[in-house]
């Protein structure tokens, strides 16, 4: 199977692949072709693809450089994964400053997409914790970027989608923990209004919040979901056991029609019904709290060879409830959504990243099996709603948004483009910067 595709396996792309194993090496010679760094390919759409051009895979840049166990900071090459970092730091009482829903991403990818997690309302995005990195550009220059030196390049590279040059190594701050466990609670809710109330009530005392929302239920059950919140357990008697490796895998592509509206509806109903009580409490290992899907290797293959999309948008709090209700209404009416729908509020901690996605407001993310035009038409309608609310769509997930919408929702793109390395490009970047 071709490893050099995006997580949604759409669009398909062909590219020459170069490898880089040593941080002191020059960028590989790619002739006339533009290049794009490629980590573990967990971006969903085309931001990690460079169709017809070339990629530089960074998985060989997988070495630690320094780990300050007393102050909690780590320096490593760009291809080191969060998985490898957790195995090193958890036993020493440290954790990632923020983490997405998978640990199988590289540090370079975390910076390039300025990833966010369940603690965004407290800690902001990954870029808020980056102390510095080295950027290797196609002119052979190596620039050490921090919040104090080469600031422009620092800001452009955080959330810069790998376009400003290749990050060879990076250093970032960690978070102190006592053990590997999370004290968590799950609360059922009905409607965006109740979700927002729960978020507001929880944001102060709970470090991690996220909700699953039913994207199929209509009528009285519209907007029902489960609000989850958690804190690192303070109990010092608990272990610092690290996670294991995935045991299950999707060994082949499932038939494209396996995920149909009936199976998805059943899943949503069962998931909501699984929790009987309105409010439950439990103690969970960090691996199952943050990374439930990592236990199945290659779960993206259940969507079949046609692939799938993830749509993630954010809209500001002002008018956000109504917009989210309209968005969710359109999705439920379309019957095109899948079972993995997530809703969360972002906080106001600002990332240094110039092109970063998170802004204060409500974010919704969900998967859609690729049903061709009908799915794309739905996204166009959703984009109109997001646009009208002055929101934006997350480039790391996107395969469809128009150049016009991107440029309107990321007005800083023009400023950003000055920092794009002339030799670097991506399928995404060509799509959103050229008018058809």
């Amino acid at each position: 199977m071709n490893r050099f595709q995006s997580w949604g396996r759409y669009p398909k792309a062909e590219q020459e692949v170069h490898t880089m194993r040593w941080k002191g090496d020059l960028l590989p010679e790619s002739g006339d072709k533009s290049i794009l760094p490629f980590g573990l390919g967990r971006s969903y759409g085309d931001s990690c693809l460079n169709d017809g051009e070339s990629l530089v895979e960074t998985s060989g840049l997988n070495r630690f450089i320094a780990f300050d166990e007393s102050k909690g900071s780590i320096q490593c090459e760009a291809g080191v994964t969060l998985d490898e970092i957790l195995k090193l730091i958890v036993p020493k009482g440290w954790f990632l400053p923020t983490t997405p829903g998978t640990k199988f991403i590289t540090v370079g990818g975390a910076i390039a997409n300025d990833i966010h997690g369940k603690n965004h309302h407290v800690s902001g995005s990954f870029g808020c914790h980056v102390k510095g990195f080295e950027l290797l550009r196609s002119d052979g220059s190596r620039t050490r970027c921090t919040s104090r030196s080469n600031t422009d390049l620092f800001k452009a590279t955080i959330g810069g989608l790998g376009l400003t040059g290749l990050i060879t190594w990076a250093e970032f701050r960690l978070k102190k923990i006592d053990n590997a466990w999370i004290e968590s609670e799950s609360i059922k809710f009905t409607g965006i209004g109740e979700f927002l109330e729960l978020s507001e009530e929880s944001n102060k005392d709970w470090e991690y919040t996220v909700s699953w929302i039913d994207c199929v239920a209509r009528g009285k059950s519209f907007g029902r979901g489960i609000f989850m919140r958690g804190n690192h357990s303070p109990a010092s008697v608990l272990s610092r056991k690290v996670h294991g490796d995935p045991k299950l895998g999707a060994p082949f592509d499932c038939p494209n029609m396996m995920l149909n509206s009936l199976s998805i509806k059943s899943f949503n109903t069962l998931y909501y019904g699984k929790q009987k009580a309105k409010h439950t409490k439990s103690r969970t290992h960090y691996d199952s709290f943050f990374y439930p899907l990592d236990s199945i290797n290659g779960w993206n293959r259940i969507y079949g060879n046609r692939g799938f999309f993830q749509y993630q948008c954010v809209v500001p709090f002002a008018g956000g409830k109504l917009t989210m209700e309209n968005i969710l209404g359109k999705i439920t009416a379309s019957k095109l959504g899948s079972f993995l729908a997530v809703i969360k509020t972002f906080g106001d901690k600002k990332s240094p990243g110039m092109l970063s996605f998170p802004q204060p407001g409500i974010t919704l993310a969900l998967d859609f099996p690729n049903r061709g035009e009908s799915t794309k038409n739905l996204f166009e309608e959703l984009d109109v709603l997001v646009n009208a609310a002055s929101g934006s769509v997350y480039p790391a997930k996107d395969a469809c948004m128009s150049a016009e919408f991107f440029q309107k929702s990321y007005p800083q793109w023009h400023e950003f483009s000055k920092f794009v390395d002339p030799k670097f490009s991506s399928s995404f970047w060509r799509r959103v910067t050229t008018e058809k």
Binding site: T19, W22, K23, G24, R63, F64, I65, A66, F67, L88
Partner: protein, 245 residues
């Protein structure tokens, strides 16, 4: 804590093996051609838990340097418990069939330098009366094949040398392990199309650590290669010579 010498330290298999030894809190000595690269590995091993790492720059094709560098190494670190010989090149068969010099050069790297290192290490460990030498040969050593007999021949030589040395050193309490990896997904095989038989360097590394710990004589990593090579070696020559293996 053991002191482990890794020769050809920036081959992927060697580096992964060094990581496993580092995580156990051992002391490591790295030999390789490029000091900058060795330093990158050194920092990684130290973060992973190695109890000290020393690096020595050497062109392993220069066999005359093997003895003096071993002397220098031992002077610095005291004694050696395990030595892993892991360097090598996979020549393009097409090229070495037509280019005499390239053929000799690849034999030199894959066989002569192994023989030299094994001899030098044997002399040292024999006097020390203990320790383990692990040499990475290949499943390609088991039968000469049309598609890569130059590589296979050198590995067959290294393999026979390793096995013979085991007998010589048995009475001195020195153990010699012959490691035969199958196809491994490394930069050496980057140009080959990867089938399901390709193993990751980290899997092979785990096999090496286990084989050394258990004092194995010859191991195939992953283990199913023993069966595959048994079958390959059982095919009668009059059929085998017509295949493109």
């Amino acid at each position: 804590m053991k002191t482990i010498l890794i020769i050809g330290a920036y081959s992927s298999i060697a580096e992964e093996t060094a990581k496993l030894y580092a995580a156990q809190g051992n002391r490591l000595v790295l030999w390789g051609r490029n000091l900058d690269r060795l330093k990158s590995i050194q920092m990684n091993l130290e973060v992973l838990g190695a109890e000290g790492v020393s690096c020595f720059e050497i062109d392993l094709d220069d066999c005359a340097k093997h003895g003096p560098l071993l002397q220098k190494t031992v002077t610095k670190v005291g004694s050696l418990d395990i030595a892993l010989i892991a360097h090598g090149v996979l020549p393009d068969q097409q090229i070495v069939e037509g280019d005499y010099d390239a053929m000799v050069e690849s034999l030199h790297t894959n066989f002569m330098s192994y023989a030299s290192l094994l001899t030098v290490l044997a002399g040292y460990l024999e006097k020390q009366k203990g320790g383990t030498i692990a040499a990475i040969t290949s499943v390609a050593a088991d039968r000469g094949r049309k598609s890569n007999y130059v590589y296979g021949a050198a590995k067959a030589g290294a393999s026979a040398f390793t096995d013979g040395l085991r007998g010589r050193l048995a009475s001195s309490g020195v153990h010699v392990v012959n490691i035969k990896p199958g196809m491994v997904d490394t930069p050496m095989t980057a140009h080959l199309k990867k089938g399901f038989l390709f193993a990751s360097p980290s899997l092979v590394a785990a096999g090496i650590v286990k084989a050394v710990q258990k004092n194995k004589s010859t191991v195939y990593v992953p283990g199913y290669w023993r069966l595959i090579m048994f079958v390959v070696c059982s095919i009668p020559e009059f059929i085998f010579k017509k295949t493109n293996f």
